[in-house]
Symmetry: C2
Subunit: 124 residues, 2 copies
C-alpha cells in the first residue's frame, strides 16, 4: 500500500475508535515513544495521553474528515495531516487539524509516535 492508502486506513480507524470507544484509541499509540500535543498541552507516553483524551469534557463526539494528506519520511515513517470538523454534543461544528507521525514496528503494525491537535481558533 502507498502512504496515502495507509493514511486513509489509519485515519478511519483512529477516528472511528475515538468517536465510538475512546479508551481503545490508546492501542494505536507507540508502546515506547509517543507524544501528544493537544491544544498546546504536551502529554508524553500512553498513560498521559489516555488520561488527557478520556478527560475531554463531552459525551458525544464525531470527527468529520475533510482532507487527509500523507507523505513518507525518513526512518520509514509516514506523516499524516488531517483537516476536518469536530461535532461535540449540541455545539456548532469546529474546524480542527491534526498531524500524526506513524512508525512501523517489528510486528509490522504502524503506531502513532507524534500527534498534534489544534482547533482552528484565531485571535480577534
Amino acid at each position: 500500500m502507498d502512504p496515502s492508502q495507509i493514511a486513509n486506513v489509519f485515519v478511519k480507524q483512529y477516528y472511528d475508535t475515538f468517536d465510538k470507544n475512546r479508551p481503545d484509541v490508546v492501542g494505536l499509540y507507540h508502546p515506547q515513544t509517543c507524544v501528544l500535543t493537544f491544544e498546546g498541552q504536551v502529554c508524553s507516553g500512553k498513560e498521559e495521553i489516555m488520561k488527557k483524551l478520556t478527560s475531554l469534557a463531552f459525551t458525544n463526539i464525531q470527527h468529520v474528515i475533510t482532507t487527509v494528506d500523507a507523505q513518507p519520511t525518513y526512518d520509514d515513517m509516514i506523516v499524516v495531516f488531517v483537516v476536518g470538523q469536530l461535532k461535540t454534543d449540541e455545539d456548532n461544528p469546529h474546524s480542527f487539524s491534526q498531524t500524526f507521525v506513524l512508525k512501523k514496528e517489528a510486528d509490522n503494525r504502524l503506531y502513532v509516535v507524534n500527534d498534534m491537535f489544534r482547533l482552528s481558533l484565531h485571535h480577534g
Copy 2:
C-alpha cells in the same frame, strides 16, 4: 535550543521569506529529499516545489501565525505544526494549517523534508 524554540525560529524565517521574497524560500528545503503537498497536489524536489510556490496567483501575501507546535521525532527530526491565517491581496483572511518535518544535516542546518499545506475549507 529545545524543539519549540527551533520551531518558532524556523516558522518566523519561513513565512517572512515566503511573504517578502518568495523565491528565496527554496533555500529552506532539503537539497536531496523534499516533498510539498499543497492543497493535495504533490511536488517532489526543490525545483517542483519552487515552481509551485512561485506560480501561486497573488501579489501580496501575509501569513499571520496563530499557533506553532513542535515535537522531536525519530532520526533527530522535528515535526512543526502551524495554524494561522492567510491574507492575500484584497481577499478576506483564510484559515490554514501546515505541517513541516525538519531534518538536521551535516552543516548543522535544519532543512524541510516534508511540507503539507491546507486551507481550512470544508464541504457544505
